[in-house]
């Protein structure tokens, strides 16, 4: 065991963590926006809105993320005739992929608001947009927060998959150090620990939120 290997390469590996956070932030932000949109489409009763969004969600949920990343990096440029570059294509892949998962959370949240609420709001004379904006979405969002936080943790972990196209995020850098130093045990224990600490913080936050929601009168 030679734990110095971590100290020696700490700067290099920490540089990857910056990219990991950037990727996670963009994927969560973009994915959530697209996901809310898709989630609203998924509860729509208009068939030309409902079916395409359902197809989208089902399609992306059936694919492994690694394959989606390949699609956007290697094949979409052939189809659209313009290369995107490693980082942008990964970001787009993550947004498209994670949006499908966010959409289902959003749909669940919207459906958790009871029909009575909507009917009462309509009875008060509110329009569709007003009902959604003032009655349904605020309640749904509150119900969704724990699930959204959990999904954010999952996305943070998913960013490690950017490894496969050579993007130098945290795991890739750990891996590069390993091929040179041949210190797999120390390096992967370290990588695991870093992810464990960061993701545990997220998981604990999600649990706190869940408990608070459980305690609040429904």
């Amino acid at each position: 065991m030679d734990w110095n290997v971590i100290a020696r390469n700490l700067g290099f590996m920490a540089g990857g963590l910056v990219l990991t956070f950037q990727l996670a932030a963009l994927a969560i932000g973009g994915g959530l926006l697209l996901g809310i949109l898709l989630g609203l489409c998924r509860v729509s009763s208009v068939s030309w809105i409902y079916y395409p969004s359902t197809a989208y969600v089902h399609f992306f949920r059936s694919q492994p993320l690694i394959l989606v990343i390949f699609w956007f990096y290697f094949l979409v440029p052939i189809l659209v005739g313009r290369p995107l570059g490693a980082f942008p294509s990964t970001v787009v892949a993550f947004i498209c992929f994670e949006a499908a998962y966010f959409a289902e959370i959003v749909r669940g949240g919207l459906q958790s608001v009871s029909r009575g609420q909507t009917m009462a709001a309509y009875a008060c004379g509110l329009r569709y947009s007003q009902v959604q904006l003032h009655v349904v979405i605020p309640q749904a969002l509150r119900n969704m927060v724990p699930a959204l936080t959990t999904q954010a943790v999952v996305i943070f972990q998913d960013t490690s998959l950017a490894y496969v196209i050579g993007l130098r995020e945290f795991l890739r850098r750990v891996n590069l150090v390993d091929t040179r130093e041949v210190r797999s045990v120390e390096l992967y224990c370290f990588a695991g620990l870093v992810y464990l600490v960061l993701c545990s913080m997220g998981s604990i936050l999600a649990r706190r939120l869940e408990q608070r929601r459980g305690a609040a009168p429904a």
Binding site: G11, F59, P77, I78, R82, A86, R168, L176, T179
Partner: protein, 296 residues
């Protein structure tokens, strides 16, 4: 969820997919014009091929191929008389051809063997390096040549198709009998890691890279290169297909470097005495460079 809904959704996906596939967008202009307009060039390099492109112990991405790339960018700057931004994209044996074919990188300088089959998908520059395949084993290993591989585990780079085919030919011709088991690695440095850990009994690839990995190992003397050349491997720069303007420019730059001695200087920096590893230029390589030094 009913069966009908799922079916409807999926058939919609299929329709969208087809529409997407049929959309004929723009045709690519010459890379050279694109570089002039955007002031940017994107070149792919290896990160697991010592000393062509690898991470050194300071975490910097360096190598022989990267120095050639820098010379190419200098030539572009001289041609267009302005600063050209040089983007370096990592590539490995498996993804280098798709990356050039889809336009993500404008050129790939990454120890790529020129093969006729690859010519079908992309274009190559003139050859700039000549080596051949050998085996890297632990010192004192019973494996001395290809015959010794019978029944053993051999690491190869997945995507190093020239290597894989060479080895497969040796197996098919009963030179290696019983056949060896091929273990695939993403890149050669990962394969060498496997060899150091004992996952494979030998690693098979081009001698220049074997020598490079050995030189950079924590304990170089524990490993040795054995066997004769199973195949010859001339390296070329990979370029997008059907873009003769760009290819001519890259070739002219290479020939210029062969003639004015820049190439030999760069070679000696990495392979010469005092370089990263010592690999004197074989006679046939020297002849190849001389042949390629076309007059102006």
């Amino acid at each position: 969820m009913t069966a009908k809904r799922i079916f409807t959704s999926y058939s919609l996906v299929a329709v969208l997919f087809t529409l997407f596939g049929m959309s004929n967008a723009l045709w690519a202009e010459s890379v050279l014009e694109k570089i002039e307009k955007s002031g940017k060039v994107n070149i792919g390099y290896r990160e697991g091929a010592v000393p062509f492109g690898y991470m050194n112990d300071k975490g910097e991405w360096v190598g022989f191929d990267m120095d050639l790339g820098t010379e190419l960018v200098k030539a572009l700057e001289a041609k267009f008389n302005k600063r050209i931004e040089h983007t370096r994209t990592p590539m490995n044996p498996k993804n280098r051809i798709p990356l050039v074919a889809n336009g993500t990188i404008d050129a790939g300088i990454g120890a790529t063997t020129i093969t006729l089959e690859r010519e079908g998908a992309i274009d190559f520059s003139l050859p700039y390096f000549l080596t051949g395949t050998k085996l890297l084993v632990a010192k004192g290993s019973p494996i001395r040549d290809y015959r010794g591989l019978a029944g053993k585990k051999v690491g190869v780079g997945s995507g190093s198709t020239a290597n894989i085919k060479g080895l497969q030919k040796a197996i098919d011709s009963k030179m290696i009998d019983p056949p060896c088991e091929m273990v695939l690695f993403e890149d050669h440095t990962k394969g060498f890691l496997g060899l150091q850990q004992g996952k494979v009994d030998a690693y098979f690839t081009d001698e220049a890279m074997l020598a490079g990995m050995r030189a950079k190992a924590p304990k170089p003397d524990d490993y040795e290169i054995v066997g004769g050349f199973l195949t010859y491997e001339p390296y070329g720069i990979i370029l997008p297909p059907g873009d003769s303007k760009w290819r001519d420019f890259v070739n002219a730059t290479l020939i210029g470097m062969f003639k004015d001695g820049t190439f030999e200087k760069t070679y000696n920096k990495w392979f010469g005495p005092g370089g990263q590893l010592i690999l004197p230029m074989p006679e046939e390589y020297r002849v190849m460079l001389k042949v390629l030094s076309f007059p102006d």
